[in-house]
Every structure is written in C-alpha cells, then in structure tokens.
C-alpha cells in the first residue's frame, strides 16, 4: 500500500504528463495528417516552420489564439460557449483510464503507466465518448444557424447509431478476457500461439470485431468517409460553422483527441496493447512496451489518414443504413458466435 502523499503526488505528475503528452500528440497528429495527406496528394505538406514543418502545430496554435474570437449576435450564448468546452473536456478525459504501458518504478514508487486503473475502464471510456455528443449537438443548436443545426443533428444521430455497433464489437473482446479493465484485457493477450502468432485478440477470432470497430470508430470520430456532420461541401462546416478562434480550435482538438483515444483503444483491445519483444537493459525493458504501444497507435492513425486521402464520402441515408442494416447485425452475429465458442470451450 502506497502512502497517500506519494499517491497524490504521483497522480498529479501523471496527470500533468498525460495531458502534456496528449496535447502534443494531438498537435502532431494534425501535423502527421497534413504531411501524409500532402504526400498522397503530390504535395509537400507543411515545410516552412521548422525542419520538415515540425513547428507548424505551434504556429497553428498561435494563429488560433490570436484570431478574432467572433460570437455571432444570434447565438444562445451560454451553450454556445459551453459546447466547445464540453467537447474538449470529454475528449481529453477519456485518456485518464488508458494505460500506455506496463508498471514502472520511478524514484522508488512503483506505478502503472496510467492515470488510474479502474476495473471498469472500458465502460468509462464508452460513457465519456457517449457524453461527447453533447458538445457537438449543443454547438449545432446554440449557433442558431441552419447549417450548424443540420450538422449538429447529423452528428448526434450518427454518433448514437454507431456507438451501438462500437459497443457491441467490443463485447466479444470482453467475453474473451472476462474483464472490463483495460490492463487485464491487455494482459490476457500476452504470449503466442505455436510460438510465433501473438495472442492478440484480432488473432483470437475477433478479426470481424476489429473491422466493425474500425468502421464504427471512423463514424464516431466523424472522419472520412463518415464525415457527414462537417461535410464542407454540403453543410459548409457543419456544427462548427459559426465558431472561430480558440472555440473552433477546441473542436479541432477534441476531434483529434478522440482519434487518438480510438486508436489507443484499438491497440489495447485488438492489437495486443504494449506486448512485443523485450530485450536489453532494465531501463530499456521498461521503455520498450511504451514504444510498441505508440507504434501501434501510430499505425492506426496512419490508416485513418490514408483513408482520408483516398475515399469519397457517404450520403447521409447511406451512412445510417450502413450502420443499422449492415454493421449492427454483423456485430450481433460476431457477439453470438464469440459467446458460443467461449461457452463451448469452458
């Protein structure tokens, strides 16, 4: 049992570090996206600010900060201001239960690389993401503009619909590992089959679940080909049409933070978390899992960006039909089959 002081201090330090890392990651996901999409599209992406444009996120942040913050006269002010705050708060909160590596010992304090390890970690993430809808819905409504309203409605309907499939796709994993704790789910994926295939959930028959998750995750985070809520060619900018300056930046941050959360979750639940070959001295051994984890997250984000550079966008009714008529039955079938297999095995 650790003492209260060291617990509090460790928590504060971990929270600060996690926030810093997350915000940096958000900034550099934007950079990565611009760079990768640029190269896909025969351009360079950012190059001017710093080497390889590496300081571009900083410049973007500054630009957002110094832009004129316009509050249109017809908005419902309280919610108009609250909406981006809600969006970004929930997006950043979800990182608190995500473990990014195994236990480490710093200055004699042994601590997990995670802000808090609760035994319903997965449910908390689901809860938080489901609350994230409010930011979008309220932004659309409070802006008092037709494009925003349509965007907000589309976003909330889309997020609710796809959350069902998202949740169901995860239940297969839960059945296999028998826990809601993300750390235990990862631990259940250690080892290999026949010595070379890692025991990741994706190789334990959850491959369909993974694809359902992938698609639902695109829809949850409003990315192409599901970026209907902010489809700029139809709804100008969807729910954040009326936003500018830092308020817009908050939505922007929330979107990318959600992307990172989703990528982390995919790595933890399907891709074996931080498991990977360990070698070298002790300090290296404690760092390597983090590296493996980050690599997976990076790979997932890369797929995100790659698809953005390639695919057109669905139409709204097609998106809903896809979610309810294809993804949901598939998720339920996957759940039933996984349940049967587990029941027969035991």
């Amino acid at each position: 049992m650790v003492s209260v002081e060291s617990f509090v201090i460790a928590s504060i330090i971990k929270t600060a570090i996690a926030l810093f890392v997350l915000l940096t990651a958000v900034a550099y996901t934007v950079w990565l996206e611009r760079k990768v999409v640029g190269h896909i599209q025969n351009r360079w992406g950012p190059t001017r600010v710093g080497p390889f444009g590496l300081l571009q996120p900083l410049a973007d942040g500054l630009k957002f900060f110094f832009k004129e913050d316009i509050t249109p006269p017809h908005v419902y002010k309280l919610l108009y201001i609250a909406a981006p705050v809600i969006a970004v708060t929930f997006a950043l909160t979800s990182i608190s239960v995500i473990p990014i590596g195994n236990w480490i010992t710093v200055a004699g304090v042994r601590t997990p690389l995670q802000i808090t390890d609760v035994n319903i970690g997965l449910l908390i993430i689901l809860g938080i993401t489901s609350m994230g809808v409010y930011g979008v819905a309220l932004a659309g409504w409070s802006s008092n503009s037709k494009y925003s309203l349509l965007g907000g409605l589309r976003a909330s309907a889309q997020m609710i619909s796809y959350e069902v499939s998202l949740g169901l796709s995860l239940i297969g994993v839960l059945i296999l590992s028998g826990s809601f704790s993300l750390r235990e789910i990862v631990d259940a994926q250690s080892g290999t089959f026949w010595g070379f295939i890692p025991r990741w959930n994706i190789f334990q028959g959850q491959i369909f679940a993974f694809f359902i998750y992938l698609m639902a995750a695109f829809a949850e985070t409003n990315r192409i080909p599901f970026d209907l809520p902010e489809a700029e060619t139809e709804l100008v900018a969807g729910y954040h049409t009326e936003y500018s300056s830092m308020k817009f930046a908050m939505f922007f941050m929330a979107e990318y933070a959600n992307m990172i959360t989703v990528a982390c979750l995919a790595s933890l639940l399907f891709l074996g978390g931080w498991h990977g070959p360990l070698f070298g001295p002790a300090w290296l051994q404690s760092i390597l899992p983090v590296l493996w984890f980050v690599l997976r997250v990076f790979g997932f984000l890369f797929v995100y960006i790659w698809i953005r550079g390639t695919l057109p966008r669905f139409r709204y009714d097609q998106l809903m039909a896809f979610g309810w008529k294809f993804l949901l039955p598939l998720a339920i079938a996957n759940l039933v089959i996984t349940g049967l297999i587990v029941a027969l095995k035991s």
């Binding site: 919610l79 319903i120 809860g127 609350m131 819905a137 409504w141 909330s156």
Partner: protein, 173 residues
C-alpha cells in the same frame, strides 16, 4: 471520510440540478439539468461501490436517452415557455402540500427503516453479480419487462406514424 464528503457534494449537485430542471423555462436548459442529475447520480453509485451501475447510468441515461431528449428539443426548436397566470391557488396550496408530504415521507422512511445505513462499496457492483441477478434470479421479471418495453415501442411507432391518408398523398406526390 473523503468518500462521505464527495457523496454529500454530489448529492447536493444532484438536488440542485433537479430544482434547476423545474425552475428553468427553456426546455434545453431543463434537459441539461437533467443530464447533470443523471451524471451526479452516477457518481453517487460509483462512491457506493457500484461501478457497473454507475457506468451504465452514464452510458444509457446520460449518453443515450438524454441525447434523444436534446435531439427532440432541437428538432422541434422549442422556445421558452410562457409563465402561466392564475396559478395563485397552486402556489397557496402547493407549497404547504409539498412540505407536509415530504415530512410524511421522511417520517415513514425513518420509522420503517430499522436497518443500518448502507456502507460505501457494499452495493452489488461487479458486472458478474449483476449479470447473475438479472439472468438467473430475476430472469422472469427481466424478460417480462423487456416484452413490456417492446410493446411500448411498437405502440409508440404506431402512434407516431402518419395516418394512411397522409402516406397515400406522399406516395403520389
């Protein structure tokens, strides 16, 4: 100790949200207050040790049902409610009535409790126990409830669908 303080704080937030829900005249504010109530209730569950119930509370009530509420309010674009006049009788009789009845309820509860206060963390929390309770001990009531809800949904669909004449004209038009 910390638990108790937090419990009281969130209990207060919960009650404040509920009062605000009644006081606010704009439907969207009321809906948001209700979300606050749901959220603080979830925290109360969590403090009592029922993590699963807490999470489900957030996901289903705050995350799904209330979103639909907000959705409907947005779709209908409901404005502020008008303050109705002629409610003096309600005011005169209502406040004493509420006071009297809440005292009565409290008295009944206190008189018949006879048990200790529930200690923190003692509620059936883990999903396994809840699953056992739902699908084993209370299977019949559970299934009956689900059928009841299904019937309610079907009824709602029937009621909400436009009358046949409208459908006909829509097809032609």
């Amino acid at each position: 100790m910390l638990h108790l303080v937090l419990f009281l704080i969130f209990g207060a937030v919960c009650v404040a949200g509920a009062v605000n829900l009644l006081v606010q005249r704009h439907p969207i504010n009321s809906a948001l207050s209700l979300i606050v109530v749901m959220g603080s209730l979830a925290v109360e569950y969590l403090l009592l040790g029922a993590e699963f119930v807490a999470a489900v509370q957030v996901i289903i009530y705050a995350g799904a049902i209330m979103v639909l509420f907000v959705f409907v309010i947005m779709l209908l674009n409901a404005g502020e409610e008008e303050l109705t006049s002629g409610s003096r009788v309600a005011l005169l009789l209502g406040i004493p009535g509420i006071l009297v009845s809440s005292v009565l309820v409290a008295w009944v509860l206190l008189a018949h409790s006879g048990t200790e206060a529930v200690p923190a963390g003692a509620l059936p929390g883990p999903p396994k126990i809840i699953g056992w309770l739902l699908f084993h001990d209370f299977l019949l009531p559970f299934e009956v409830t689900s059928v009841l809800i299904l019937i309610a949904i079907m009824g709602a669909v029937v009621l909400a669908s436009p009358p046949e004449s409208v459908q006909q004209s829509k097809k032609e038009g």
